[in-house]
Amino acid sequence: MIDTPPQVAPRSDAVVPDPSSRRRRGRSPSESRGPVATTAIYVALVLGTIVTLSPLVWNVLSSFKPSGEILLAQSWWPETFTLENFSQLLSGGEFPRYFFNSVVVSVAIVLGNILLCSAVGYALAKLRFPGRGIVFGAVLVTFMVPSLVLFVPQFVTVASLNLTNTYGGLILPLIITPLGVFVMRQFISQLPDELLEAARIDGSGEARLFFRIILPLCGPAVATVGILSFVMSWNNLLWPLVVAQTSDMYTLPVALTTISQAEGSVAYGPLLAGSLLTILPIIVVFVFFQRYFIAGIASTGIK
């Protein structure tokens, strides 16, 4: 699994992406290559798209089928077209609330992770202080403990802090990701020390240094931490399941597993409808922001 690609190019310092190097802004022009190669790439991408999307297409189509027809799985196209699943899902009027909760929790976790992980990552990478080794050791240990093992003790801790059924309880235990610290530390330690020395000589305080110089240079690392923590919190099921004790604190995954469950039954129609409504807004956000989302990641580096 430690698949290290063969080192082909002669090693040079240029291998390390130097975020301060000047680059042209805007889209990178595509290669001028033969029409055959370009066509081949498109064909591969389109095939990949079909494979990637077909489960979701099935999801979309099936959310318009009655529950019984979904499990029969005779055809992709609904034989009986119904909006029943959506009306059942939205009838309680609580779905927007679940969505709101998910957004609040995920945004807080993403922002918290970016801030806390980069702060400690900076300290670990560039500052000398007694106990640095211990802090880094703590990061590594936490990184390796399967989160499931901490489940029960974490819950008891949250309860003793009176945080059950609050946003605090849903957010705080996820607000640091050891992985995030590790990513930030790795990235910041690649930044040239001279940059810091120069700023220090100019009389910048450490806080100013961090917010004005370090953080703006951390684009790719910030993006990595943001994406990882977003995915982890957006799909997180087990933790909110126990911390959210009343349905007004439920997040989307909790609500989805709860939908129409009874002894021996799950209503798949509303479940698939809910899944669709969960994914759609994220896709919309991604479509609108993806240019900034990805291109912006790297461009932060040149400012």
């Binding site: 699994m1 690609p5 990637t52 489960p55 099936s62 450490e206 806080a207 993006a223 994406i227 991604f286």
Partner: protein, 302 residues
């Protein structure tokens, strides 16, 4: 990588740096102490006792059993089976995710002119899907009379009952793991690719290097730090594979898709907190070992 400590500063600077270091670490350390260190110690204690769910209200009212829980876990063939399955998932899924993501990232970064945004979005979508719903879809696609077998039938292959087959169930699960993760890594790679200065490519092109040659000798080597980071991330993610087999096969048939974390989850479900914690610590050692190897590689490469 500049792993060297910063140049030794003067005494005054050093003390102000120490203060800054602690202030920057403080939020992390606080959260860590409350939500990680204490629970970690607690579960270590659990692993040495016969604690069950019935003792939760009186957690110290348990008997110390030494390493009995560890012995019990290590002598359980189901545990080894689940560890083996997890190993297979990691060995197959991690390289697969990396290769697919690398191909897509390179193609989307420089290979094509039109439709970049569309493809990026498409490939990222699986990352945000809900596993509970996707599980239903997967079961349908890979049912004995499902879409996949219908397609295989058109080319004359009589497909197996994927999820009910002791050999094919695990590959089917692995496919879902890959499907849900490659978009994530693709985005990481895209970010890494855009950090590669344009001039390098242009210089190479002027020198007459073809696009394949440039991919192999410029793009990939310059992406090595990102690739290694992604491989560590994916290993740690995938070694804890749980949701996919949990919601689709519940570990069956005949434990062929039981993963290590599922084993732990089952023990918790039985209320056997002692054994669950012991199994967790064994898995912890395995992850630790894997990470250590990868850190070493990471360090030597960058």
């Amino acid at each position: 990588m500049t792993t060297l400590a910063p140049k030794a500063p003067g005494r005054k600077k050093r003390s102000s740096q120490a203060l800054a270091g602690w202030l920057f670490s403080l939020p992390f350390v606080t959260v860590f102490a409350v939500f990680f260190a204490w629970p970690i110690l607690w579960s270590l204690f659990m692993s040495l006792t016969d604690m069950t769910s019935r003792d939760l209200r009186t957690p110290f009212n348990v008997e110390l059993v030494g390493l009995d829980n560890f012995a019990a876990v290590l002598s359980d063939p189901v545990f080894w089976r689940s560890l083996g399955n997890t190993g297979v998932v990691v060995l197959v899924a991690v390289p697969a995710v990396l290769v697919i993501a690398l191909f897509l990232a390179v193609a989307l970064n420089r290979g094509i002119r039109r439709g970049k945004g569309f493809f990026r979005t498409v490939y990222y979508v699986p990352v945000v899907t809900s596993i509970v719903a996707i599980a239903v879809v997967w079961k349908f696609l890979f049912a004995d009379n499902g879409t996949v077998n219908a397609m295989l039938a058109t080319i004359g292959i009589d497909g197996p009952a994927w999820l009910a087959d002791t050999f094919w169930a695990l590959p089917t699960i692995i496919l879902l793991v890959i499907w849900r993760l490659f978009g994530l890594v693709m985005v990481l790679f895209l970010a890494g690719l855009q950090a590669i200065p344009q001039d390098v490519h242009e210089a190479a092109r002027v020198d007459g290097a073809g696009s394949w040659r440039r991919l192999v000798s410029i793009t990939v080597p310059m992406l090595v730090p990102t690739i290694l980071l992604a491989s560590v991330l994916m290993t740690v993610f995938i070694v804890q594979v749980f949701e996919e087999p949990f919601v689709i096969t519940q570990g069956g048939p005949l434990n062929s898709t039981q993963s290590a974390v599922m084993y732990i989850y089952d023990e918790f479900g039985f209320g056997q907190y002692g054994t669950a914690a012991a199994a967790s610590y064994i898995l912890f050692l395995v992850i630790g070992l894997l990470s250590l190897i990868q850190f070493r590689v990471l360090r030597s490469r960058t």
